[in-house]
Assembly symmetry: C2
């Protein structure tokens, strides 16, 4: 028995283990999804595109699936989690910025004045984001996000923010990957913010995270190359920006797309308009008790036009309250 053969055999044993795991999961790949139309639509689609005998078979390299993040993979209430990061960061940096005491929207943050903060609008938000997200190297920024995720707690659930991820969506991501899909995040959130936790939390590596970005600059500091974050918007990955970013980063059209708001509509339209089998899904927040209930009138994650289009096009709309037996992943 030569070396190659031994190596082949041990690979087989390893692979057999993997295969068994896949088959065990295949018993019910989506245990946190209640039986119903949503679950059936997902499973039917996956079986259709992976069946080599079917005329709808899709080659593995074309099995691209894109997911929004805020409100689709994790919660987005009472404020976008990244905005909470910016707020916490501004409080932390306040001692180095005495001028913030009399300067909006920083003053509102420091005084906990939610009304003024709400009125600050996009321009105010941008100021907070720039103050907390720019002016440092990419590695320093990642470090501040890591510390925040470890220490900050969500006000309602008193858990780290990256534990407030939806268990049914984690199962869906794993189920798609087990079936040869490449899973991407395409979110309005900051790409460098999400990349810090996406691999560990979602099993999505940095190169499959697409998001909004600020400009950066390469420079040598004492002969050491660094990439510095600049206080200038580079790209907003929302609405029409999502298909544009998908084209730019992936260069091919997804066959499945998942969102929860009007900000995802163009991504779903772009996905749906391709040739062959397509799958589009909206997560509808209907569970005020276990999570939140909001849609057409919400200023966070507004789902209005998208809901109309989903009905018209026959896309899958997840009724969180009915379709999900569990909301969040287990506490660690």
């Amino acid at each position: 028995m030569n070396y190659c053969f031994t190596r082949g055999l041990s690979f087989c044993v390893l692979l057999w283990g993997v295969t068994s795991t896949v088959n065990a999961r295949a018993a019910d790949p989506l245990p946190s999804w209640n039986d119903g139309a949503s679950k059936k639509a997902i499973v039917d689609f996956v079986e259709q595109v992976t069946d080599e005998e079917s005329s709808d078979f899709v080659l593995p390299e074309e099995r691209i699936a894109t997911f929004d993040n805020d409100g689709c993979l994790w919660s987005e209430q009472p404020v976008y989690f990244q905005l909470q990061f910016a707020i916490d960061r501004v409080k932390q940096l306040a001692s180095e910025h005495p001028e913030w005491k009399n300067q909006q929207p920083f003053q509102a943050v420091l005084e906990g004045d939610k009304q003024t903060l709400a009125k600050a609008g996009m321009e105010g938000l941008a100021k907070l984001v720039m103050a907390s997200h720019a002016g440092m190297t990419t590695e320093e920024f990642a470090g501040t996000v890591r510390v925040w995720l470890r220490t900050a707690r969500h006000p309602r659930f008193e858990r780290p923010y990256n534990e407030l991820v939806y268990q049914p969506m984690l199962e869906l991501l794993a189920y798609l990957r087990d079936n040869g899909f490449k899973t991407y995040i395409t979110s309005g959130g900051g790409v460098d913010f999400m990349r810090v936790f996406a691999a560990e939390t979602y099993g999505i590596p940095p190169e499959q995270v697409i998001g909004s970005s600020i400009k950066t600059k390469f420079e040598l500091r004492d002969g050491q190359p660094v990439i510095v974050r600049l206080p200038e918007i580079d790209f907003i990955d929302d609405k029409e920006g999502k298909p544009v970013a998908i084209h730019k980063f992936i260069g091919r059209r997804p066959i499945a797309a998942f969102g929860n708001s009007d900000g995802d509509l163009q991504m779903l339209q772009w996905t749906a308009a391709g040739d062959g089998p397509r799958f589009c899904l909206y997560v509808h927040h209907t569970d005020a008790e276990r999570e939140w209930a909001y849609d057409r009138d919400s200023h966070i994650g507004k789902l209005d036009q998208g809901l109309n289009e989903a009905k018209k096009q026959g896309w899958t709309v997840v009724d969180m309250k009915q379709d999900w037996s569990t909301i969040y992943r287990e506490e660690k």
Copy 2:
């Protein structure tokens, strides 16, 4: 013997086949590389980072390798191939643009006036690129590139442009992938231009191609979503832009980088400055007979500062004439 077991077995047989192929190639993974320092440096690096017993072992997901394209994977003389595409395209579109007869740099293209064309500078080039690369949907553009690759022939070698790819570099790409590397292109060339042939020519899928880009816009045309190419530069993936793009698209630092000009220097510096084992390589064009010989004074693919830095840092410099037994891939 149940279904799972049968499936496991057939997977094993399949895998055994793959394993044997890998081992057969391992006899000499780089047959077009002559024995010498360059080849040895490549093999030593790959063995070092894939040896689980070594303190230099690198996890497969961190094995990111980035390659320049023009002059590194394919030739770039007598003009960048994409510029030739733009020139050919302008000639083709001339009948729809009678005004070009008296308008530079179009007039120079139509009259074959190379002197005037050379004097047109960056601004002139930009005009040619915009006229030939913008104003259509992304799918229409890909179609024009496909037709050009099928029909255009290189003036010196009379072969399709995407056959003028370096056989030793194709072997290197395959060797790295066989060893768990993810191979990327990071080129000053247009991303949507390169994506048309990168998968078939280099085995690099669209989502691993990074390049310069023009802006695009999502819109509905008769209810059909399209992405339209706009006559406006989005990003130039050259010099300081390369590490910036690597950070933006990949989100982690390569452990190996390959280039041939000063435009790649910052990518190599960024790669070299990471922790753990690193590999940087310059292709030096030294073979006027089989390809071209140029470096410090060339206006295409100038290699001056990079050559100094390579010597200083001990990076691998490929002497094309000495190190490569074959230049181009076999004719099909």
